[in-house]
């Protein structure tokens, strides 16, 4: 398999993970989406966890609303407290839009990318995944690695376990683990630094 086609595939994975982190909406969170999602989960060998998610979605009278409520609680405003704001600066600067967000934006710029006017903050998880997708699409694997090492993993390794521990819905546990999987480069002996 060529390096270019792998990059193209990896680009799709990043874009798909960004999609998974968007606020649930039936317009996109439909049968096709879940089919692709469970296909990926199965391929990675997490069939039983995938089945658990399917069971919960099936049993819920309004599965999308249940995910919306959980998304709000985890990532927006929740009671007792928002669990894990999906912004790097929250973990690195203890603030929204701190210096770390500016560093992230500078990295985007250095690679020739800018934020759209209506976009969220540059250090939002979704935008970082989009950026990774665009980088690998350009086959800039060195840039991908630098971004992951210096700007993504330092905060994501705090974010991921927080969601994994606190979430009440297995879908989000799976999503953050998938992101963890695709953003963690294994050592040369074949083992990942942070085993999923």
């Amino acid at each position: 398999m060529s390096e270019t086609s792998t990059s193209q595939d990896l680009s799709f994975f990043y874009r798909f993970l960004a999609r998974c982190m968007q606020y649930p909406d039936p317009q996109w969170m439909n049968e096709d989406f879940f089919q692709a999602f469970f296909n990926l989960v199965d391929t990675l060998g997490a069939t039983s966890e995938g089945q658990e998610i399917q069971n919960i979605l099936t049993q819920s009278p309004d599965p999308i609303e249940a995910l919306q409520i959980e998304y709000t609680r985890l990532f927006i405003n929740g009671a007792p407290h928002v669990v894990a704001p999906p912004y790097a600066s929250v973990y690195m600067d203890k603030s929204l839009q701190g210096a770390f967000a500016l560093k992230t934006l500078s990295f985007y710029r250095a690679k020739g990318f800018v934020m759209e006017k209506d976009a969220d903050l540059p250090d939002h998880l979704i935008h970082e995944l989009e950026f990774l997708s665009l980088l690998v699409q350009e086959n800039d694997l060195a840039g991908e690695e630098e971004f992951l090492t210096t700007l993504f993993r330092p905060w994501y390794k705090q974010f991921c376990p927080r969601v994994g521990k606190e979430t009440r819905h297995p879908y989000y546990r799976m999503v953050v683990n998938l992101i963890d999987f695709f953003t963690t480069e294994e050592k040369k002996d074949g083992f990942q630094c942070n085993e999923a």
């Binding site: 798909f16 966890e49 609303e65 405003n77 407290h81 934020m115 903050l121």
Partner: protein, 746 residues
């Protein structure tokens, strides 16, 4: 969770496309990050934005902001300001941390749980506005406009408040700034001098500054504090009456450690002494006061000895203060104060301050009460409509319950009506920028109000405690993200020997609002459309509102921005006493309304055995509960220690830094604990805390549960009879430690 393959191996699998291609069909077509031309490295896009108007408190200092890449990184005083100048306070600096507070409300939320125990779901603005509009309209259709009550606070709440009051037609509006703060001061002065006093005192040129309970240095309004400090630098004598050795008391020449609640007795004794000894300004009294004889007779009983006994201070000290004031009159500042909702006898206290100023002839003079001549603005808002008094609770049964009430309806009348359903049901509640859980006494009663509602909506920037009671919670753009309030003012020619100057400073956004935060004009107009009032909408945007308000001054937002965010123009010298200016020493109108015509001391309940009176006030780095979650300010003052007299502490076996809780005389316990500050600087019968701490809402990740919420211990409700304003210092507490209740020693 373990996947049975490593990333590398997975990406090397031959069938990778079989997984990735289905994914590619469900991804979002657009991205927030997009390709652009390379920018030169090192470009930070730094800009200075003018036109900031602070609202970390309500003094509204003028600012500029340093913006880098769309991010506000620093706030400073606007160099063009002739008000606060280049100075802003700790709170002003920390506005950035409100702007970027992680816990700030970002999207409209719907409560799919219970009121008070919310489960939030993000919804669209369309859905949120439809729900607010339809639910409020249903209340009006079923119960009439009086079925809606409104709790507004702050600059952004004025436009929606006018909508509900003027267009919808409910009288049931209770502003915290009036009914739990300064309203009683304003109406007492209105009844005495026919205008609200604001804080128009020329302290910079005063020979004596007399503060009765004001604690400047802890309560900081920048230009006012500068004015005060300038006065002290110029040699003004400072007299501070306060049960506590406040920041002002620490700078005083005379500290009057007065018994709480007895200020009026103290002021009456000073005035009686001045009258009896003919040390008052006879010319001013002859030309500009009414009812001197009745007034003199009414206060004659207040001898120095009688007041000394009542106020628990030396008679000689009362005389010393009176003599000092008389010797330096008329250039003396009798400060009218600001927050005055203290004991439920505060209208009379305000009257006494106004009358003392008159006896000293200290109106319209250098160093005295000296209102600046401000530039005029147009009035733009919802058109005023007459709605009669049939459903005005303050006029119920053809009786004026509180004839000297500030604008709106006294809070307690609204709450009683909402809970009892009498004389009519109140079923819809709009909370806009106010946190009634921590501004209005008796939190359980406030909860009952919310439980009685069919619908509750809240608009705020932060998830304050009251937002837990909302059905729909709307995120508002902050003062740094919107056009808004216009501050106007003027310098006194007498104060600085410069030509008098007026200024006009509208609020400009420093940065664009983030997420889905919206301003008050958008939200109100959208609700108005859904309630059938589209034709009444006065403006389409906040920008239009401000420009229309500026019309009378012949300026515009664009022209003022070009001038650096502040328009300066020649002012007028603060003038001599207007010929028709009259001070009602004895007011026949007040007497006819059934209240004392001359200032009168009404004693408050004494401290019951084993208890201490709970006093509270402002922290220098906080504005009540509004700023508690600000991380910079929180670090500066994370808890509110309880001030405890050192002798009392020794008897209780408490030392500095001990952790204590509280139980009040009605059995209500504090939810949290705080630490003890042991000091000789407070009377033995009082404890004191800074206000606004100990918030409940766990959505506030920084301040939630830190310090003690003294408001939760204020359960006994006192109502000032003339104004209907709350008195909040008639509550008594014992300390608790390690599960034991400690009786306060006599």
């Amino acid at each position: 969770m373990a996947f049975n393959v490593t990333r590398r191996k997975f990406l090397q699998t031959a069938s990778l496309a079989a997984v990735s291609i289905p994914l590619s069909k469900v991804v979002c077509a657009e991205t927030g990050v997009t390709k652009a031309s390379l920018e030169p490295k090192g470009t930070m896009n730094d800009t200075t934005v003018v036109g900031g108007l602070c609202e970390m408190c309500f003094w509204r200092c003028q600012m500029v902001g340093k913006v880098r890449d769309g991010q506000l990184i620093k706030l400073e005083g606007n160099p063009k300001s002739i008000d606060n100048g280049t100075s802003i306070c700790a709170r002003g600096n920390a506005g950035i941390k409100l702007l970027y507070d992680v816990d700030r409300l970002k999207y409209p939320l719907k409560n799919v749980g219970k009121r008070g125990e919310p489960v939030w779901k993000r919804i669209s603005w369309q859905e949120a506005l439809d729900e607010c509009g339809s639910k409020l309209k249903a209340v009006v259709d079923q119960h009439g406009p009086q079925g809606i009550c409104v709790f507004p606070h702050g600059a952004s709440a004025k436009y929606p408040m006018h909508y509900f009051e003027r267009t919808v037609g409910t009288h049931n509006v209770s502003e915290a700034s009036f009914f739990q703060c300064r309203g009683v001061r304003d109406t007492a002065y209105m009844a005495s001098i026919n205008e609200a006093p604001e804080e128009y005192v020329d302290m910079a040129n005063a020979k004596v500054i007399f503060l009765v309970g004001c604690h400047f240095g802890e309560n900081i309004h920048v230009s006012h504090t500068k004015n005060y400090i300038k006065g002290l630098q110029n040699g003004a004598k400072l007299i501070v009456a306060d049960p506590r050795y406040s920041a002002s008391a620490a700078k005083s020449d005379i500290w009057v450690q007065i018994k709480p609640g007895t200020d009026t007795a103290y002021l009456l004794a000073i005035m009686n002494y001045l009258v009896q000894n003919k040390k008052y300004n006879q010319e001013f009294v002859t030309n500009h006061t009414a009812g001197f004889d009745k007034f003199s007779q009414s206060i004659a009983e207040w001898t120095l000895d009688k007041a000394a006994k009542e106020c628990e201070i030396p008679a000689a000290q009362i005389k010393e203060v009176a003599d000092l004031l008389a010797a330096n009159a008329p250039n003396v500042t009798i400060h009218p104060g600001r927050f005055s909702s203290w004991y439920g006898n505060d209208f009379q206290r305000g009257r006494a301050l106004a009358c003392l100023t008159a006896l000293l002839g200290a109106y319209y003079v250098k160093g005295g009460w000296l209102p600046p001549k401000k530039p005029k603005l147009s009035k733009t808002s919802w058109a005023a409509e007459e709605h009669g008094n049939e459903h005005n609770l303050n006029y119920h049964n053809n009786k004026m319950h509180h004839p000297y009430a500030p604008p709106g309806t006294p809070t307690e009348l609204i709450r009683d009506c909402a809970i009892s359903g009498k004389p009519y049901p109140i079923k819809g509640c709009v909370v806009w920028g106010q946190n009634p859980m921590q501004t209005i006494p008796n939190q359980e009663k406030m909860k009952q109000v919310f439980k009685a509602m069919d619908f509750v909506m809240c608009v705020d920037v932060m998830p304050t405690d009251v937002t837990m009671w909302a059905d729909i919670l709307l995120p508002e753009s902050s003062y740094l993200e919107r056009y808004d309030e216009i501050k106007v003012g003027a310098t006194y020619v007498k104060a600085d020997d410069k030509e008098p100057t007026q200024y006009i400073a509208p609020r400009y956004p420093m940065v664009e609002p983030q997420f889905e935060r919206k301003d008050q004009v958008y939200i109100t107009n959208e609700i108005a459309k859904r309630m059938g009032h589209e034709k009444d909408i006065p403006v389409q945007s906040l920008e239009e509102l401000v420009n229309k308000t500026l019309e009378a001054s012949k300026t515009t937002l664009a022209s003022i921005k070009a001038e650096g965010g502040i328009h300066l123009q020649p002012g007028k010298p603060a003038g001599a006493v207007p010929e028709d200016f009259m001070v009602q020493l004895f007011s026949d109108e007040i007497a006819d309304a059934g209240f004392p015509g001359a200032p009168t001391y009404i004693p408050v309940e004494n401290v019951p055995a084993g208890h201490a009176r709970l006093l509270f006030g402002r922290a220098p780095v906080h504005s009540f509960s509004r700023t508690q979650n600000n991380i910079w300010l929180h670090h500066a003052m994370p808890v509110n220690p309880v001030w405890l007299n050192d002798t009392v502490a020794a008897k209780l076996g408490l030392k500095e830094g001990d952790s204590v809780g509280f139980i009040n005389s009605e059995g209500v316990k504090s939810r949290t604990t705080t630490i003890v500050k042991v000091t000789p600087g407070i009377r033995k019968d009082c404890v004191y805390m800074y206000h606004g701490y100990g918030m409940v809402n766990p959505m506030l990740s920084i301040c939630g549960g830190k310090g003690v919420d003294e408001q939760s211990l204020i359960t006994k409700i006192a109502i000032d009879p003339e104004s209907g304003v709350h008195g909040m210092r008639n509550n008594f507490v014992k300390l608790t430690k390690d599960g034991k209740t400690l009786d306060m020693p006599a």
